[in-house]
């Protein structure tokens, strides 16, 4: 546990984690403002369909 804490609180890990989150934030902006509206809506529909399918599967698995 202590070694893990030392690992994630090291400067090298901080650089890596910060880079990852900065990449995610820039990607969100790119998806929102860098894509044509049609493509963005198509992606959103696919995500909604996928999340709906997962929710449906979890729901029926819960009833089994």
């Amino acid at each position: 546990m202590n070694e893990f804490t030392d690992l994630i609180l090291s400067p090298a890990a901080a650089k890596f984690i910060s880079g990852f989150f900065a990449g995610v934030v820039v990607s969100i902006y790119a998806l929102r403002f860098g894509l044509p509206a049609k493509t963005r809506i198509a992606i959103r529909e696919r995500v909604r369909a996928a999340s709906g399918a997962v929710r449906h599967a979890v729901h029926w698995h819960g009833h089994a």
Binding site: I8, L9, P11, A12, A14, K15, I17, S18, G19, F21, A22, V24, V25, V26, I28, Y29, L31, R32, R44
Partner: protein, 187 residues
Amino acid sequence: MPGRTNGGWGDQSIDGIFTASYGCQKGELDQSIMGRGWRAALRSGIWLLAVFVGLYPVSHALHLRPTVHLIQLAEAANQKALFRDYFFVAVVLVTASFGNVLYCMVNVERLPSWAKALFVFTMLYYFYVLMYGVSRFAELAEITTPVELPELHDDLWFMGFAVAVTLLAELGISLTEKVEPSIVPAV
């Protein structure tokens, strides 16, 4: 059949009701509200001011003016074992942005999906920055010699990413917040 009372406004048209309520014409009201672009520029300006104010103590200690040459400033601070003061600017900026993001998440009724995603990731990241920032500051405060170059570079990358995320979060707030006009009924 009795006619519609128009909400107690008699025979006035919608435009008339608008003028009576807001004290100006519709077009004038639209122009009086600051646009998103201006609000984003204003917020970015305040953010930039916060960066320079945060850098002032370390610049003062090094007998330098606040400058845009941030890498040289960091190296100079490191040579005099003052890198901890320089480093803490990122933590302060993240703390300020943390409050702004939280307030926006609570205050805005219907956030768009992209803003929700942005703010959730930002908040997760801010938790990490506060944890790492405070522990790293405590570590740096005990060091009396300059930080080694690889570690200094890692910390500068971390600071750069953290500060960039705060700016993007502030812009996200500007793009999603809704400013209602102050309604002063005409007497």
